[in-house]
Symmetry: C2
Subunit: 358 residues, 2 copies
């Protein structure tokens, strides 16, 4: 066996120790006589796995008791509808900040149900920065302000939460959850697809303020109603049991590695290594500047498409895969999520140096 | 390791050989250097797995080209809304046959969006039979007739499709898919959650007639629109990649075991073994009679709650688990899906005989 360093933007690398545990428990979990895949979601054995996963997520992210933690399906894309359907019933208004392809989709879906307004956008420069936001830009009557905390495609990140004129924030944290602390006092809801920092694709974590539940719009499908899932502890129907178990294994790994503090420090170290090289290189350059840089997704270019293609091939030949940038940005992108070992980033920088020197 | 015989109604037993393959490929699939869990859904490696899974499903179920195969999330419960939202735009009317808790839920969700009518129900006898249905009971103007092909909780099954007055059928086949042939000429749509005969929980297969797409109601969330998923080959957003891979492994196993013909013959043999014993036993009796009997879910009782409880404990001590019946029926239920080996049913009958003789 020879594992590559996988810089995929998602689904993406998982901790090797987690995969080893999953493999070793595949035919029998503990002394249950069954695979986790085969367990009834109503069984004591599975409920224990589920409860421990929620408890670990609450501990790691310091989620206050006034928030409900839901394990749903359908990805962040389903949340683009569920957020306005569930959380905009007071004023029917919400403010959206457009910082990439995913926040554009969130806005356009919200417009189908509520009065959703684009407050600011960085579309003018291919979403290569986070717009400057001041409190007077936000409607104090809006039910929420929607932001995409980390933009997977463009490699930008909100270094600070905007002053939203007292309006609570709803954030898509798909590509940065578990890499930073969250100031829950500012949020109505944080949601994230699992397939970057949490687990394989197939579970969506929604952390929502309980006081906001029970006000879904009339047209909301039952399965899109947060309150329904909250009441049944995410077991209104069969949850994606095995993917939740995988999330549980990843959370144990996060705890073993110093929790969010430990992980965030390592993430910063990995990102610094790569950005420092990019800022000093004569061949490669980062497409995002300053404080807006993501420590999860690092897009970079040579400025020459042929050289980009040659580098991607050279990297692949050296065991570094999925470095091609998104088609809307071009060039390269290194997604260096929590589970990417520092050795992977060191190897990447080494391979970039070698390529540059040729 | 000591694996039990698991009679869970779902999530449920998977073929041991499938679990072994999954374990052996967990850290590296082929020579990809990655786990399937880590693969980008846009990668060539993953697309090959995905395409093979769809091809095998089409082959095994003989799905005609005029049907689209979608791999979605959210379980059959999401289909309870998606079916009326997508398939009832012509007349806004649909006829529902109520044969259990799940078909009741399907009807009640449909009523929120369309004129959904209950044509017949077997609620009067705890859903222990399939109602007699004649063509004059159905509205020929309805867009579809909804049935639950196999009723997991009550152990009933449609031995024959009803004459629906020319109206196409939409069927929830969650607990019998891959155990019988499907006469596609009669159907508008067949859907099924994976966690009984197909895969671990987390993927929902929707097989829908292409000509019916593109007519979703205005309020339909984008992620609930069949046409969106059809256009993007079930990759409008990240699909539940690993669960689809597991389905692929199960489909290979089905093919190795004679396809639907081979599997159905074995299923019938297992069911006959159990029903024959039940019909001859002085202690145990089946709750469903005649042609309505499911070959997947077999509920049975002693008529004495204390004896039921004693038997369930006795069976568990003998390595037979999850035999407790659903709370609405009581007694016992043996779910003997495709992956339950005949040895499991033989052992169950043996343990029942021993218990009866005591």
């Amino acid at each position: 066996m020879s594992r590559v360093f996988n810089f995929s933007a998602g689904p993406s690398v998982l901790p090797e120790s987690v995969l080893k545990t999953a493999a070793s428990e595949m035919l029998e979990y503990g002394s249950s006589g069954q695979s986790v895949m085969e367990m009834s979601h109503r069984s004591k054995e599975y409920q224990a796995i589920f409860d421990q996963t929620e408890a670990d997520l609450r501990e790691v992210l310091e989620i206050p008791a006034e928030f409900s933690v839901l394990f749903l399906q359908g990805g962040a894309s389903s949340q683009f509808a569920m957020v306005p359907l569930n959380l905009a019933s007071e004023s029917g208004k919400a403010d959206y900040v457009t910082t990439g392809a995913w926040s554009k989709k969130a806005l356009s879906e919200a417009k189908r149900y509520i009065n959703a307004r684009e407050v600011a956008s960085s579309a003018d420069k291919t979403f290569s920065y986070i717009p400057t936001l001041t409190s007077d830009m936000f409607d104090e009557e809006a039910d929420y302000v929607h932001i995409t905390l980390n933009n997977t495609i463009y490699g930008t990140h909100f270094a600070n939460l905007p002053d939203t004129n007292g309006v609570p924030i709803v954030a898509d944290a798909s590509s940065c959850i578990l890499s930073e602390k969250i100031d829950w006092s500012r949020f109505a809801c944080v949601y994230a697809g699992a397939q970057k920092n949490m687990a394989p694709a197939g579970v969506t974590v929604v952390i929502v303020r309980k006081a906001l539940l029970g006000k879904a719009m009339e047209v909301t499908p039952t399965m899109f109603n947060y309150e329904i899932h909250d009441k049944d502890g995410s077991m209104f129907n069969t949850p994606p049991c095995y993917t939740i178990y995988m999330l549980g294994l990843v959370l144990k790994w996060v705890k073993e590695n110093g929790g969010i503090d430990g992980i965030a420090a390592l993430d910063q170290k990995k990102a610094d290594l790569l950005y420092n090289y990019l800022d000093s290189s004569a061949l490669f350059s980062a497409t995002v500047a300053g404080k807006d840089r993501s420590i999860m997704n690092v897009p970079f270019v040579t400025g020459d498409e042929e050289k980009d293609a040659a580098f991607i091939k050279f990297a692949k030949d050296n065991g570094l895969v999925n470095l091609k940038g998104h088609r809307s940005v071009g060039g390269m992108r290194a997604s260096i999520y929590n589970a990417m070992p520092i050795e992977g980033v060191e190897k990447l920088v080494e391979v970039m140096r070698t390529f540059e020197s040729k």
